[in-house]
């Protein structure tokens, strides 16, 4: 007779087997809890954020002793679409083109502009309110041998102004620059449509990138993205999509350094999407340089195998708000939202306590315009409730929607711990405000925010630039592209839009830095008080570099430069 081999019938659960199984489960769970997924306790015990930094480097260390050679492997989370500076559509990828190109003007590590910095102009003169004359550095050539001169500058600026080029910087340049003329081989004149003190900042950004005209003619507007040719310290050697980008040293680099640098033979950007793997890769020596995830900062700062460098004030983190979309068109509602947010708690929860509250839109790293005396947005739950009552809203009446994009854990780009939007949502709930978080893809967001303008807000910030004019105009002037809703007029119920716009226009046409700073400060105070944006925290960047290398600097508005990196 055949034995019954039914698997299910042969499994009988007895009391003994059930107790045994329960005991094993309990022991296993206890073991997991002990070993566990414990987070950094370091975050709560860390000292003030600035304690992390290594000695700040104001100039390359041991430049005389540094030898040429070496290959620096840098981990990156994503590769750019293209390497052309003028066609780069996202500030996130500025680090890439800044190694290959020079702009007409550049700012040093202390955000001071001069001919000594790595710009292609050795000096400039403002002959009147609407005219600048730039004297160019001589002997500079592109990677393909094309000489750099005034005709090249004229070609590049006119290319940016040409609608067919689709250069992102055209929106900033077109209202400012009327024409460019080559006065002689190394002198170029900019004729402006209006007095505009932000011109130097614009020329130190994507609009001022100098690309080889011969390369543009050879490869075309699309092709130049994959075949960048600049005057920068490194040139493109190889690009294997989704794998790595290799730059090799340009021995003819003349924009700064008098030929003493760059030192490295190569910079290799390796695409490693996962932050955990990036950290593992630098520990194992597979890469030499990473942007540190916030959660790993404390672990690396005490490790002598790495140089950890921090740059504070490279942006602000918070919400952009559409101040024309109800209920955010009522200034009391916006103020109530701001008062309901405990920024210290938010920073602890979202940024592992590694930052400090932001006091306004202009960045701390831009010391010539940063105003530490501004009255920041603060936390006051009672005031929040009182304002809502005054505005006639009961608990649950105020509802709005913000967009959020998936966070990364790297300092300067994202979070460690909870997403700030989620923390804000729970804080607002305590005062009876409902905030919906809608994660949307980037292209969908662009349409909602810029074109349709039907989103109340989005979680982001604005990263450091060489000049505040473009950011202030774009985000807070009634015609600014970032200013969804384009609120105008001055109304105690809605806010002082015209007053802010006028202050920004005045500041941008004022060349005296002290007066300009004063005007921007007045505008910032109104922006804070009217809660045109919600400011949460100062953005910062922390990098780790293996000790075999040295010489990294924060050139390029906090983006960093490898041109002085050398083997230690």
């Amino acid at each position: 007779m055949e034995e019954n081999r039914n698997y299910w019938e042969s499994r009988r659960v007895t009391r003994r087997s059930a107790l045994r199984a329960a005991g094993l489960t309990a022991v296993g769970s206890a073991g997991l809890a002990i070993v566990g997924c414990g987070d950094d306790d370091d975050a709560t015990s860390s000292a003030s954020p600035s304690a992390v930094s290594s000695s700040p480097q104001t100039q390359p260390t041991q430049a005389v002793a540094a030898k040429k050679g070496g290959s620096l492997k840098v981990a990156i989370g994503a590769q750019p679409d293209g390497l052309s500076g003028s066609l780069n559509s996202s500030g996130k990828f500025d680090t890439f083109w800044q190694q290959i190109y020079n702009c007409l003007v550049w700012f040093d590590e202390n955000m001071a502009s001069s001919g000594k910095a790595a710009g292609l102009a050795s000096s400039w003169e403002r002959t009147d309110d609407k005219t600048y004359v730039f004297t160019l550095k001589q002997g500079v050539t592109f990677h393909d041998g094309t000489p750099f001169d005034a005709d090249v500058v004229k070609f590049n600026i006119e290319r940016v102004l040409d609608p067919k080029t689709n250069a992102p910087a055209r929106a900033q340049f077109a209202p400012v620059v009327a024409s460019v003329a080559a006065l002689d081989k190394y002198k170029v004149q900019f004729n402006l449509k209006r007095a505009d003190a932000s011109l130097l900042g614009l020329l130190a950004d994507r609009g001022g990138v100098m690309e080889s005209p011969a390369a543009i003619q050879k490869y075309g507007n699309d092709g130049i993205k994959m075949n960048p040719v600049g005057t920068g310290p490194f040139k493109l050697k190889e690009w294997i999509k989704d794998d790595h980008i290799t730059l090799s040293r340009f021995d003819g680099y003349k924009a700064d350094g008098d030929g003493s640098y760059p030192y490295l033979d190569e910079v290799v950007w390796k695409v490693i999407p996962q932050e955990t793997v990036q950290v593992a890769a630098i520990r194992s020596g597979d890469v030499d340089f990473i942007d540190l995830p916030i959660a790993a900062i404390s672990e690396f700062k005490g490790d002598s195998n790495f140089r950890v460098m921090r740059k504070d004030g490279v942006g602000w983190l918070g919400f952009f708000l559409n101040c024309s979309l109800a209920p955010l068109d009522d200034v009391r509602v916006r103020q109530a939202i701001s008062y309901a947010i405990d920024r210290d708690k938010l920073i602890k929860g979202a940024y592992a306590g590694q930052s400090k509250p932001s006091i306004g839109p202009i960045w701390e790293a831009l010391s010539s315009y940063y105003d530490a005396t501004l009255k920041p947005q603060t936390y006051d739950k009672k005031k929040a409730e009182a304002l809502l009552q005054e505005a006639g809203f009961k608990s649950g009446d105020v509802k709005f929607e913000v967009s959020a994009t998936p966070p990364s854990g790297q300092a300067g780009y994202g979070v460690a711990g909870e997403q700030p939007e989620v923390i804000v949502q729970s804080m607002l709930k305590e005062v009876g405000i409902e905030m919906k978080i809608t994660p949307v893809g980037k292209d969908t967001f662009d349409r909602f925010w810029f074109k349709d303008q039907n989103l109340h807000g989005y979680s982001s910030g604005y990263s450091l630039r060489s000049d505040p004019g473009d950011m202030m105009f774009g985000a807070y002037h009634k015609d600014g592209t970032y200013n969804a809703g384009h609120g105008s007029g001055d109304d105690p119920k809605r806010g002082r839009f015209d007053e802010v716009s006028n202050l920004i226009v005045q500041a941008n046409s004022e060349y005296d830095v002290a007066k300009r700073k004063s005007l921007f400060s007045k505008a910032q105070q109104i922006i804070n008080d009217d809660v045109r944006s919600l400011f949460f925290a100062d953005n910062f960047r922390v990098i780790a570099l293996r000790k075999e290398f040295d010489g990294f600097t924060w050139y390029g508005a906090g983006k960093g430069s490898y041109r002085t990196v050398h083997r230690a």
């Binding site: 039914n6 999509k241 989704d242 999407p273």
Partner: protein, 363 residues
């Protein structure tokens, strides 16, 4: 008479329904064999050719259905590829928007876009990426071999783990060894592959330094480096497949080992090992091969995650990037190629039946 693959699939579906009701999985009863029937194997080549042709036609049919589906679905997704292409600042004007939309071919009616795309497909031209990936055909041609190597290695690991484990479990059914193997098999199923992948990176890559933590090296650049780079990703992906395979090997073998001919073989004095492996396992393989074919889709899906974690430049990474960037041409190409690959892999599984079971060849 249905093809062997269809018979087995129908039998498996029936068994799974039975399993859900608490009944054991049994191997399909071999209905083709008649003792002493003198099976006619003449005309086998013609049959094979007809079989291959049928499968190719089936693949073409699936590709057509998938092409329609992915074409329409991609365009139904929220997002505007033109906006993404032109950049975040929306500083372009309407004229620029219209021009770019026309350049990308998105201003034509959808049926016209589809017809043009299908026309190019007949020439093996999958179009051009709008986000810097170049020709889609070339992009896929560069990445498909990488993903294929990862999937084949993962399948190999799954087979190397599941076959011995399932065989040992079946041979010691009901005992402690059987239960341990079952627990490990279920763990493999329950463990998320991305979690396992990161664990492997931290332990074997970072801590012990035995394997590189990321990347891919082509085999022509050195077999050892190729194997070292592929080991952890293939293991992370293969383990998730080993669980169900182990269970299937065990279940099929248990039923086969209950057959009369196994009892006869034992009674004739054959060694236990010979009986289990030569007579038992081979006959138990048919449903296992079916499950392996059905798991190809799971492998491709798992490869997407694994390629992201280990920074492997394969089809999975290409798919993720193209979806994030609303790169329609690339999404369409990747989905189409993946669907055809799954169909062909299952066809290959069907072909394997013939090698494993002479009765299938004869029929």
């Amino acid at each position: 008479m249905d093809s062997p693959g269809t018979e087995l699939a129908r039998a498996l579906i029936g068994q799974c329904i039975a399993l859900s009701r608490g009944h054991v999985c049994v191997a399909p009863e071999p209905r083709f064999f008649k003792a002493g029937s003198g099976v006619d194997v003449g005309g086998g080549t013609k049959l094979l050719g007809r079989f291959v042709l049928q499968r190719m036609l089936a693949a073409a049919g699936v590709a057509l259905l998938v092409s329609v589906g992915v074409f329409w679905l991609v365009r139904a997704l929220p997002g505007d590829p033109v906006t993404l292409y032109l950049g975040q600042s929306m500083s372009f004007d309407d004229q620029t928007y219209r021009t770019t939309r026309s350049q990308l071919g998105l201003d034509e009616p959808l049926p016209v876009q589809y017809a043009k795309w299908m026309g190019r497909l007949m020439r093996a031209d999958l179009g051009r990426s709008s986000r810097g990936q170049g020709e889609v055909t070339q992009a896929i041609r560069d990445r498909l071999p990488v993903t294929a190597q990862l999937c084949v290695a993962a399948m190999l690991i799954a087979v190397l783990v599941s076959f011995p484990a399932g065989t040992i479990a079946a041979s010691h059914r009901g005992g402690i060894v059987d239960r341990v193997v079952t627990v490990f098999a279920m763990s493999g199923v329950a463990m998320p592959s991305f979690w396992l992948a990161i664990l492997l990176v931290l332990v074997f890559g970072s801590k012990l330094g035995w394997f590189p933590v990321y990347g891919f090296v082509p085999i022509q650049d050195g077999f050892l480096e190729w194997a070292r780079h592929l080991a952890m990703p293939a293991f992370a992906l293969g383990i998730s497949l080993a669980g169900p395979l182990t269970r299937q090997v065990r279940a099929s073998l248990v039923e086969v080992l209950n057959e009369d001919y196994i009892r006869t073989a034992r009674a004739k004095g054959l060694k236990r090992r010979t009986v289990t492996l030569q007579h038992g396992l081979r006959n138990a393989l048919l449903p296992v091969v079916t499950v392996m074919g059905l798991q190809i889709g799971h492998l491709l899906g798992g490869a997407v995650v694994i390629e992201q974690v280990f920074a492997i430049p394969g089809m999975g990474r290409l798919a993720v990037q193209s979806i994030i960037q609303s790169d329609y041409a690339v999404i369409q190409g990747v989905v189409l190629v993946s669907a055809v690959a799954v169909v062909l892999a299952n066809a290959l599984a069907d072909l394997c039946y013939g090698f494993l079971d002479p009765r299938v060849r004869a029929s």
